[in-house]
Subunit: 340 residues, 2 copies
């Protein structure tokens, strides 16, 4: 699929979705829309992802199949400054894909233009409407199921899942990511935003995703939130029990010791945190923490290596920074028990 | 409020909501509708709750303010056999209160009749539409917050909450229940069915309830599900972290060792289960299990006492069967640290 990525005013640093799609998806990006950087190329800012021209508005976008909203403002609302590009895309018959809190389909103008021009409005954050409670059966899939879990939100669970998938594929393993959040869904073209599911059905929605992908040999389920998070731990637990993983990878941001946005809450020490995940997993699937991923992007190489060394010591497992380094040792650890 | 309780074919054994309302609410029950037992009185079946005549249909119900749907069939759907009573109530201008999966307000006939006769359709299972994520602030309320948690669903969390409230009130304490499920909401006339809330907002919805009731001296938050439940643990976690309780009461059904409806999943041993709740509570509010409630209804007195004795030993706290016995020792334990 040929796509354009809308990221006005935010590319690349605050356009997590656009960058994730450029880095990990199979889609062919024909342009990024950012009126503040029009005339640049993606490679001027990010050398290690697929390249594309950066343009000011949709009129300058080459032929494509879909426009992807590649930024998510706080609150997840639609910004009116994007309307001219969305309507231009729909008039050209392009689908528009968004992961916003407010569905595009609820906008009268968008709905009318989509109908008139045969385009589809894809609101990936809206869950399917036929979800039910979990049966407790995800553990029966043939695939080896790895769940990325975190010490906090935004700790690298999505990035780690895709990096591990790509490393496994390089070894010829039939590996896939199970997307549970909007960016993962946009990258992969399927999945369910578990945080938007009615809480009674959140484990069931996760179970369904794992079972849909269960024919692959190796699954990396993208975790959400964190077990010791004052607001999102319910989502985390639903995914931990709904996915019934075989292995856990604990993702952490080097130097972080308080919950992001909730400064009065301290993160548990890393070994205690790993124990907490294992204690919660024990009654359902018995998964253990078999590796760690550490985001060291705020540190120079030497300090990063110190953090990585400490993290490996306290977890007593292989660890890696999945963006800076390769994840071979982490993957080896996750695969050690497979097929035995 | 004068209410009639619809419980056709199921009173009293399979009419948990009707019985809960009769036992714990302040509403004045003027009739129970059960065509299989018409002519009996409530007291013929349940000697220890408020009495009322049992009638065959709404035509025989005395003047009242609301008809409460007091049974919840599996799946939570509306049964067409109830339609004549619901329409008769609306024609008389009575509100109709239900906790069904399918909202009454979505039924065209009910909506039309309610509008015509100035009656209200109250679907208590539908959450408010302005919920948000938790701020992590429930712990700041003045009240001492007790959360009833369970080893499984249907383990006595709702019943225990109301029994403890009533025992506290008998001592002159300003105590209240924070209802998180449909029966609790019908009994109390307020609350939110946390299992129907979008999972991202489930802790936030719980936090809001606790803060709404925070001016009381003692709150009993009704827990839901169980931490080691393959389907509902996300709801349990959201309530545990959203409510930020000071104390936990662990509710268990004597003799149960597998998850109800999920026979392949064993319940953790009681001390491990208590540890699991405390480990999960630790990073957020630090609550500990300070008492236990045990449902011994399947056993004779002697065997019940053996189960109670064992439960007290393994929990190392006071315990009680809140329906069979008084809860004074349990309440003492929960109040031991208050005001210190």
């Amino acid at each position: 699929m040929r796509i354009a990525l809308l990221a006005h005013g935010n590319f690349p640093d605050d356009a997590k979705t656009a960058v994730g799609v450029l880095r990990y998806s199979d889609h062919d990006a024909v342009a990024v829309l950012d009126r503040d950087r029009a005339g640049d190329r993606v490679s001027d800012h990010l050398p290690d992802v697929q390249d594309a021209p950066i343009v000011a508005d949709f009129a300058d976008v080459p032929d494509c199949d879909a426009l992807v909203i590649g930024i998510a403002p706080i609150g997840g609302g639609f910004e009116e400054g994007w309307r001219p590009d969305v309507t231009a895309a729909l008039r050209r018959g392009c689908d528009v894909i968004a992961g916003l809190h407010d569905p595009l389909a609820a906008d009268e103008e968008f709905a009318r233009l989509a109908a008139e021009h045969g385009a589809e409005l894809q609101d990936v954050r809206q869950p399917p409407d036929d979800l039910t409670v979990a049966d407790g059966t995800a553990g029966e899939v043939d695939a080896h199921v790895v769940l990325t879990v975190g010490t906090d939100c935004s700790s690298g669970k999505m990035t780690g899942s895709f990096e591990l998938r790509d490393a496994a594929r390089e070894r010829g393993i039939d590996a896939e990511v199970v997307p549970t959040g909007q960016t993962g869904i946009m990258i992969s073209g399927w999945g369910t935003a578990i945080d938007r599911v009615i809480s009674d059905f959140a484990a069931g929605a996760t179970e369904r995703l794992v079972e849909q992908a269960g024919d692959h040999d190796l699954l990396f389920v993208e975790g959400q939130g964190a077990l010791a998070h004052p607001a999102y731990s319910g989502v985390t637990t639903a995914i931990l029990h709904g996915a019934q993983p075989d292995s856990l990878v604990l993702c952490h941001v080097a130097g972080r010791d308080r919950v992001g946005g909730y400064d009065s809450f301290q993160l548990p020490d890393t070994p205690d945190y790993a124990d907490l995940y294992e204690s919660m997993a024990a009654p359902i699937s018995g998964a253990t923490v078999e590796a760690g991923l550490l985001n060291t992007s705020e540190y120079d190489r030497e300090t990063a290596d110190e953090h990585l060394s400490t993290y490996a010591d306290v977890l007593d497992t292989p660890v890696a920074d999945p963006v800076r380094d390769d994840v071979d040792a982490v993957l080896d650890s996750l695969l050690a028990g497979v097929g035995e």
